[in-house]
């Protein structure tokens, strides 16, 4: 059972504050527009980065404000659902008898539609504490387009924002990482002499556009706007992966990323249509079922509906999941993510590690009320996660390209989040999303630093022993690797542990698989780390004579991220009574997992596993051996991992080629079949008349004879038809 509460902010006048917050996504866009004007008028182009830094900075400040306001709401929530707040509007309230609402909610409950909320039982832990309360701000900027008149009222698709505590977390993650990455890029997008790379302005313009899109995605208050953000981040990803567009690999990777994502978006769009299909007939005039708030209000009604023999929550959940799989690079449509590493490293850090790829996790978490009503869809989410986690971890074990190793680890960590979602612990998923953003962005930016110093070489076979060459990158990367490996007390440890914990409590075997994968994670992370920084110092010729650490503008943004990688996990300390979980308790995430309090034994075990795996990695790769001991040991299996299970080739053979061949076939059919029929129809009169034309010999007297004979014939027929007259 879900109770929705729309909460005006407490300190400030609601309208003013909302209007200020509503500008949040626009600031990075202003940066992009400013760069566009600079380019159009050919002025001040070398200042391009300031525009975007200022825009993202402004967004970050506002994001902090939003986070803080939801924090206050959280404090209010601590008083429990009975806390009387005159301004609080209860949109749906029909709790089971034993959870009779407090008096403050009764008036609104009167005009809410009656609904049997059988899902209350499914909410497990939260069900015990009473109805799940969702508190949110909603801000409507303007009516975007209409879906016709329903009961005399226009059904608008609005540009509206839906802000709850989940949004607060996402905004902080997105703006913080984005700000660091943008500052870092000022140094990264220059050559060794400090000159701006070609396309410098373009890069920052797209970054600004990306941050705008991502914020729209996070803030969206309805599915159409979510789809807008969803597609727009995909576009920015396309533009930024293809930033070095003259490189065929980059151009191909960009195209692949967009098209593979579109496969998911196909399902996503159908999911939106399906929501409308189910809810359109039952919502009140003036409500739009595509608004989250309306959807959550009527979500109970979905349980009795079905289409094509599939229950409504399952159908919607699975279709929307398609989109999430594409965007979050999950099995089976993850193939674009490793290729996406063709983009500049800051892009990999921001888009393909910290923010955009987490959109799928965010969406599934956001739609908790739907997934909570479909055990089948949850199972699919879990399975996708398990398969993806193992698959990606194995592939990451056998790569040489640092960024690709990190990309596979991203996919694997996202898969962890999906497992968390699938076993009904979305808070754990979002917690991992939040910590992962810090350390993975840190790792990618460090890898970018290595790449920058090594003259754009990122293959670990070409260098080693960089510890002495790049000391500060070494230290920062070490922190990132420890966090990713789940080293005790670092941020990754807390969040990963929570996911493992949730899995163990619900489906123990899933928990074991995750523990095993976590061991692999620690192992491959440090394999990469040792290959890069340990052993004898070697640098590729491209790196020049004196490779050195990155300039300060590229180093300073890494410290806040490193701090996050170390300490961000502590907000989760205390499990369900900790700060993080209290903060997101009144978001739209619905936990269905059975919940037990913090379990120190599991923490000890997972910590031990991480440390053990690091030591194994040290034993095997500690001196950066050049003969790849794992390949010696595993042989063909390693080679299969190295070849990424040949999935790209398989997809090409069973999807791309046949479809294109079908297209060729259709085009041939079009030219010869369809057009042939048309031409044949057109040619028929010509053929027929050419028979008649044979009689036309061209001789004048021939025509005259024909005329006379014809006249005679007419005369005979006429006489034959009419009775004789007096003549």
């Amino acid at each position: 059972m879900i109770v929705l509460a729309s909460v005006p902010p407490i300190q400030l006048d609601a309208h003013t504050l909302n209007s200020v917050y509503a500008t949040l996504p626009l600031w990075p866009l202003f940066g992009t527009v400013a760069i566009g004007l600079m380019l159009a008028f050919n002025r001040a182009k070398e200042m391009a980065h300031y525009a975007v830094i200022a825009g993202v900075g402004a967004a970050a400040v506002l994001a902090g404000g939003v986070f803080y306001s939801m924090l206050n709401d959280g404090a209010a929530a601590a008083h429990g659902p009975g806390h009387a707040d005159a301004a609080r509007l209860m949109l749906v309230s029909d709790p089971p008898a034993q959870h009779a609402p407090a008096d403050a909610h009764a008036p609104a409950a009167a005009h809410a539609p009656a609904s049997a909320s059988s899902a209350a039982a499914g909410h497990g832990a939260h069900g015990d504490h009473g109805p799940h309360i969702l508190r949110y701000h909603q801000y409507t900027a303007f009516h975007w387009f209409s879906l016709g008149l329903i009961g005399g009222q226009t059904r608008w698709v609005d540009v509206n924002f839906f802000v709850d505590s989940l949004t607060g977390v996402m905004l902080i993650v997105v703006t913080f990482v984005a700000l660091m990455v943008v500052i870092y890029s000022v140094g990264y997008m220059r050559d060794h002499h400090g000159h701006q790379e070609e396309g410098y302005e373009r890069f920052f313009a797209w970054l600004g556009l990306f941050v705008f899109s991502m914020l729209m995605l996070v803030l969206a208050g309805n599915f159409v706007l979510l789809y807008l953000g969803w597609e727009a981040v995909g576009l920015c990803s396309y533009l930024l992966i293809g930033f070095y567009y003259q490189k065929p690999a980059a151009a191909a990777a960009a195209k692949k990323a967009f098209l593979v994502n579109r496969i998911g978006d196909f399902g996503f769009a159908l999911g939106i249509f399906a929501i409308y299909h189910f809810l359109s007939p039952i919502v009140q005039p003036g409500e739009n079922p595509l608004d989250y708030a309306t959807l959550f209000k009527y979500v109970d009604k979905l349980e009795t509906m079905s289409l094509w023999g599939v229950s409504a929550p399952t159908l919607i959940g699975l279709l929307l999941l398609c989109g999430a799989l594409g965007k979050s690079a999950q099995f089976p449509i993850y193939v674009w993510l490793p290729d996406a590493m063709e983009g500049p490293s800051p892009v990999s850090a921001l888009i393909h590690a910290a923010t955009m790829v987490t959109a799928g996790v965010y969406m599934v978490a956001r739609l908790g009320p739907i997934y909570a009503r479909s055990p089948e869809a949850m199972d699919v989410v879990m399975w996708v996660g398990i398969i993806g986690a193992v698959l990606a971890a194995t592939m990451a074990m056998a790569q040489h390209d640092m960024k690709r190793i990190l990309a596979y680890s991203t996919m694997s960590q996202l898969a962890f989040m999906f497992v968390a979602l699938g076993v009904g612990a979305p808070q754990a998923a979002i917690f991992h999303l939040y910590t992962h953003a810090f350390f993975k962005a840190l790792l990618f930016l460090c890898a970018g630093g290595v790449m920058h110093s090594m003259g754009n070489i990122i293959d670990v076979r070409y260098f080693s022993g960089l510890k002495s060459v790049l000391p500060s990158t070494y230290r920062l990367m070490f922190i990132g690797c420890l966090a990713l490996a789940g080293f005790p007390l670092l941020s990754g440890f807390w969040s990963k542990d929570e996911i493992v914990h949730a899995a163990l409590d619900n489906r123990p075997w899933v928990g074991y698989v995750l523990l095993f994968t976590a061991a692999m994670t620690a192992y491959y992370t440090f394999r990469m780390f040792f290959l890069c920084f340990n052993g004898p110092t070697r640098t590729p010729p491209e790196a020049g004579d004196h490779p050195h650490d990155s300039p300060p503008v590229m180093t300073w943004p890494l410290y806040p991220l490193a701090l996050g990688a170390i300490a961000a996990g502590f907000v989760g300390y205390g499990g369900h009574d900790g700060f993080f979980h209290k903060y997101v308790a009144d978001s739209s995430m619905v936990a269905t997992a059975a919940h037990t309090s913090a379990a120190w034994p599991i923490m000890l075990i997972s910590g031990a596993i991480a440390i053990g795996a690091i030591f194994v990695a040290f034993a095997r790769y500690g001196d950066a051996p050049r003969n790849e001991p794992d390949q010696q040991l595993l042989g063909p299996l390693w080679n299969l991992w190295n070849a990424k299970y040949l999935v790209d080739e398989i997809y090409d053979a069973i999807f791309v080629r046949p479809l294109r061949a079908f297209g060729k076939l259709l085009f041939d059919a079009d030219r010869h079949g369809v057009d042939g029929v048309v031409n044949a129809v057109g040619a028929t009169p010509g053929r027929l008349s050419s028979i008649a034309a044979w009689t036309q010999r061209g001789a004048l007297q021939g025509y005259a004879v024909a005329m006379v004979l014809g006249l005679g014939l007419v005369f005979i027929v006429w006489r034959w038809l009419t009775p004789a007259t007096g003549l």
């Binding site: 209409s146 016709g148 151009a251 579109r262 249509f273 409308y276 299909h277 297209g663 057109g682």
Partner: protein, 552 residues
Amino acid sequence: MSLSAFGLNLLIFLPLVGAILVWRTPREREDVAGRLALWISIACLLVAAPLWYQSLSAGAGTIAEVKRAWIEVGGRSKGELIDGLRISWHVALDALSAPLMLLTAILVPLSVACSFTAIRHRVNEYYAWLLMLTSGMFGVFAARDLLLFYVFFEFTLIPLYFLIGIWGGSDRRYAANKFFLFTFAGSVLTFAGILYLAIRGAQLSGSGVVDFDLVRLSSLALGGAGLTAGEQSLLFLAFFAGFAIKVPLFPLHTWLPLAHTEAPTAGSVLLAGVLLKLGTYGFLRFSLPMVPSGAMEWASLMGVLAVMGIIYGALCSWVQQDVKKLVAYSSVSHLGFCMLGMFSLVDYGISGSVLYMINHGLSTGALFLCVGMMYERYHTRDMRKLGGLAKEMPIFAFFLVVFVLSSVGLPGLNGFVSEFTTLMAAFNSPLVLGPWFGVFGATGILLGAIYLFYMTGSVLFGPYKAPADTPDLSAGLSKDLNRREIAILTPLAVLCVILGWAPRLVTDTLDPLIQAQVLNRVAAARQVNEAMAATPTQAATLAAISNAGAAR
């Protein structure tokens, strides 16, 4: 005659007069013809824009109307025609025609301006034909008399025939003939339908005068009291013959890729931007309101053809090597969305369909302009021979990407809202289409991205590649787009963004019109049909009631 009515007539006659002036300009001063044509077309835009602005408050009614006797043959009594034939000069402007006329008025100056360097021979004739075409296009959207509509509908063929046949590519004669014969053959059947409808209208109203007035006919020929379901079904097919070829709906599309490929850039722009919409507009203005029962009966088939067109057009598009042909096939796919939305017979589907007409006009028109600008420099449209143009032509690349994105329906640009509403309407159409139409139609989301991104990928990105001796920078062309070309593409790009965020500029006024002219009639026809199936005796009464309701 009110000022706006005068403006409406002016829109039709100004380009016609202009055509004669342009034709008579001195041949040795070639630039004069182009400039004059540009000013005349801008004048048209200046007339059309305020008319469109007025139409925002039109609701379901008209804002400008002219009705004059044009051809009246037959017996008279006291000056009134009592039997015979009446064709009137009846033109009007409402919320459906206004945005399409504005689209025309926007595209014409751009296509004139894009021809300045591309057309080098028989210049004044060229612009004269272009202006004649303009006049015809305005006339089609304004006409409210069936026969007048038909005259304009056919009149547009002639200028385009010459534009393709004289200034087209290497295979221009064949393309022009095919285009002409194909579309003409279809519309002859439409003409038969129009005649039948008018004669039946005269019979049903008990008057001896065969009147072609749209308003009269659509209020007479409704439901059980008017045309029978069988008649409506056949009449729908007669209209279908002309309009579906024009749209073009699969499998009647084969003239289109050929005509587009061979036509000069301006011809392609106007063909894709406006002339294809004559078909969809015809369905919406005539088929749906006048034979609603027939439309209902065939709607599912139309949906099937539309979906097949979406998939078929997209797959054919994907395997093209000629960029222009690729864009041409994409039109087949895109117009499939338009038809799918229209025949969902759902309010937001139909308004989305009209929005789609506008959006397709803008983005596909712009794509043709881009292809033309590329062709002028590289003398080839073969994707295998070109590559990496983004390096040489960054401004061009920017515009091409914007229009491609608008074409694939990226949210925030214009294509999205119309694509979304048409597909959702097909998915949720309770009467005629259903979820499966939405599912198959939505594959267009994916397929559309495939072919357009293949195209941009191979033309713009990768290492630079171009045929020898290019780019050809004669005739005042620069390596990247020059100011004139930027000025041509910028308004379109701006409109793409504006309509992405404010589609209500088009749809808000459209909604009441669609409700009154289409949906109420369809609902009435459905009631009658249902009643007919249940109790034939009561059907006539019900028909009378619903007629009255729809006529209101």
